[in-house]
């Protein structure tokens, strides 16, 4: 058979979502000759459609469906209807991501063993280690064109990086460079070199940044074995009396509902939508939702310890020029409990344009304290702080009892409380970030609170034992053999690193496993 596929074709593998996990998995399955349908809730906006303008771009690609928040995290106060800053479009959040591609470290895969019994944390070791993922990391870095791997040179440092680097050197940090980035420093794989446009978050208009939209899905579609159906929002996963999944119910652009039959279903809607979909698929046979015999679906929601430090100088920086995140200090990524917390964090260059700087610098602030900061916009440098946060069972995606989305499905509530370890790490990171800039003459620094979550992790976590999580070491649900999870919700713990590279590596590995299972007749 070849794409497009019939609704009643039950030989296809259905992948829900087209981001780092789903877009990569769907493409890899097609490359192996497996008939695959990706159902993407959002529309298809190609490279030329992206907009260098923060609010219009936000309206173009963001996931803005009904969501609610609860808990003591500041995002619930500042952005109560927007817990996450992620994408609803073909390519998912790989259209929006900044490109930082870093491997999880060995000690982070064994967080429970290495960090011990942290009170209040539901830490668990991953059922896999760095060794299991290394060949897939190698593969992912090559196909994504990650700088400083495979002989690819680093990106040139922009003004914002030069300030960071000078401060890092003064402070004695040893590992500061322009990062391992899935953004071409030279033309490669049919995609051009970075033009230093400065709108990485708004969809790269030069195509230099890897995304599933521009690098994976077109290769998959070329095989004739991949159909990407956009504006197809999956509402429920269906199953038969044996407990195997049989297909999915989805709504098209006009709200009309269809059932796409499937041989297997792979859920890759991100760590908010994936558990929500499993919960919204509850049936008489599975009253607590699909794959939820452990009760762990939606639990252990992680969003990384985050924060930013901006600093004003007496001379201009123009940080907005060039690659947004091509700059990193890695010295704090170690596990060194003498700092007062377990796990580590990265410091990465970051810039926002004036519209988003106003919204995010100090949400809710007004008056001269705020405007005198904005007046220094072109004299500012900035960095993002991203580190490992503690999984907590009470941090969870649940179905809202009354709020519904546009299709009448229960909306997700995102509950999050910072763990004391997260708070201690953020304090340390704010202090070190400010020190980097103070070392090179900052006149004022701004410890900026977390933005709506971009790294959403852990809500269908991978576990050795079925009772501790939702999926096994292949991302296959413990309960239902032809139901998989293929996104960051698999993460057992968050680690300090930006998660996309690991999501891609896991998807490549899962594609191998699904192909083997199909070949052996197990699937």
């Amino acid at each position: 058979m070849a794409a497009p596929y019939e609704m009643n074709d039950d030989s296809v593998v259905v992948v829900i979502g087209s981001g780092a996990g789903g877009g990569t998995l769907g493409t890899d399955l097609a490359l192996k000759g497996i008939d695959t349908v990706i159902l993407e809730a959002g529309g298809r906006h190609e490279t030329e459609d992206f907009v260098n303008d923060e609010w219009p771009s936000f309206g173009q690609i963001s996931w803005l469906d009904k969501r609610t928040t609860s808990g003591s995290w500041r995002v619930a106060k500042d952005f109560s209807g927007l817990p996450a800053w992620i994408v609803k479009a073909v390519g998912g959040s790989t259209t929006h991501w900044a490109g930082a591609s870093i491997r999880i470290q060995e000690h982070e895969f064994k967080a429970r063993t290495n960090y011990g019994d942290v009170p209040g944390a539901s830490l668990l070791d991953w059922p896999i280690g760095l060794q299991d993922l290394e060949p897939y990391y190698d593969n992912a870095e090559d196909r994504m064109g990650v700088t400083r791997t495979n002989g690819i040179e680093g990106l040139p440092g922009n003004n914002n990086f030069k300030v960071m680097k000078a401060g890092a050197d003064k402070l004695g940090y040893k590992e500061c460079h322009t990062g391992t980035m899935a953004i071409n420093s030279k033309a490669r794989d049919g995609r051009g070199a970075c033009q230093q446009i400065g709108f990485c978050f708004q969809g790269c208009k030069s195509g230099a940044k890897w995304s599933t939209l521009n690098a994976e899905i077109p290769r998959g579609e070329d095989t004739g074995k991949l159909e990407v159906r956009d504006n197809s929002h999956v509402l429920q996963i269906q199953h038969d009396s044996s407990g195997k999944v049989t297909g999915v119910l989805y709504a098209d652009k006009d709200g009309n509902q269809h059932v796409q039959k499937a041989r297997a279903v792979c859920v890759a809607g991100n760590s908010i939508e994936s558990p929500r979909l499993l919960l919204n698929s509850a049936s008489a046979m599975f009253p607590d939702g699909l794959a939820n015999s452990s009760g762990q679906v939606g639990k252990n929601y992680m969003r990384h310890m985050t924060g930013s430090v901006y600093a004003a100088f007496d001379k201009p920086v123009n940080m907005y020029r060039g690659t947004t995140m091509a700059g990193i200090i890695r010295d704090e990524q170690v596990h060194d409990p003498s700092r007062g917390f377990v796990g580590g964090y990265e410091m990465e260059t970051l810039s926002l344009g004036v519209p988003f700087m106003a919204a995010f610098l100090d949400p809710g602030a007004w008056g001269r304290e705020f405007t005198s900061a904005m007046d220094m916009y072109d004299h500012m440098a900035g960095m993002w702080l991203v580190g490992e946060d503690m999984p907590q069972e009470s941090n969870a995606i649940t179905l809202h009892p009354t709020e519904k989305d546009q299709h009448g499905m229960a909306a997700p509530n995102v509950h999050f409380d910072d763990h004391p370890n997260d708070v201690a790490m953020r304090s340390h990171a704010f202090r070190q970030g400010a020190a980097v800039y103070d070392a090179v003459g900052a006149t004022r620094t701004f410890p900026t609170p977390p933005y709506p979550s971009t790294h959403n992790l852990g809500t269908n976590r991978m576990s050795e034992k079925a009772r501790d999580g939702v999926v096994n070491k292949w991302g296959q649900t413990h309960d239902i053999s032809n139901l998989f999870v293929s996104d960051g919700s698999q993460f057992t713990t968050g680690a300090a690193e930006n998660p996309t590279l690991t999501i891609v590596a896991l998807a490549i590995r899962q594609a191998d496993y699904i192909a083997e299972q199909m070949a052996s007749g197990a699937l």
Partner: protein, 182 residues
């Protein structure tokens, strides 16, 4: 290092009209106390659905909430000007704005013996705003202003932000790494 000329590049006179329909009157906002003196004759705004005095107060509130002394009044007028059209079709919003301004003016009268826009010092006006800052009226205005002010290209230029760059080839040949003092 390529730096941005932050001086206003548009003509001094800006007309902002929120409606093409016949208006209740063009407000020539020249008030005592000096707060809007710089704007005299520099802009005009048709006000159809709100009271002209209400719009005048909203403009002053906008400046007091996000005060940038290098921004012309036209920027603040543009930021709140859209409320007049919205008030035409949204009675709840209209009541929120009219009642909010009435309350604010009442407080100003009690403390200083005049309307809000007549209070001479910013610090005194800001003190009034602080006392209503948890209420729905101020929260609505502030939440809208943080977008409607900072989303204006004129503001970007004043702050040294260049905006869209892809059509100009990005910054690869236009100063992405031209910092010369670090």
């Amino acid at each position: 290092m390529r730096v941005i000329d932050k001086r206003p590049s548009v003509s001094r006179r800006t007309f902002l009209r929120t409606s093409t329909a016949a208006s209740a009157g063009i407000v020539a906002l020249s008030v005592s106390g000096g707060t809007l003196m710089g704007a005299k004759g520099a802009w005009a705004l048709d006000v159809k659905n709100l009271k002209p005095e209400t719009m005048q107060t909203l403009v002053q509130m906008a400046r007091d909430t996000y005060p940038h002394d290098r921004f012309s009044d036209a920027i603040y007028v543009k930021a709140v000007g859209g409320y007049d059209d919205q008030a035409g079709s949204d009675a709840v919003l209209k009541a929120l704005l009219e009642d909010g301004v009435t309350t604010l003016d009442g407080m100003a009268n009690g403390a200083h013996g005049g309307r809000y826009v007549d209070v001479g010092w910013e610090i005194d006006r800001v003190a009034l705003l602080r006392s209503i800052s948890d209420g729905a009226f101020f929260q609505k205005i502030r939440g809208d202003l943080v977008v409607s002010i900072y989303n204006q290209p004129e503001v970007w230029q004043r702050l040294g932000y260049e905006g869209e760059s892809a059509s100009k080839g990005g910054y690869i040949n236009r100063g992405f790494d031209d910092i010369d003092w670090i």
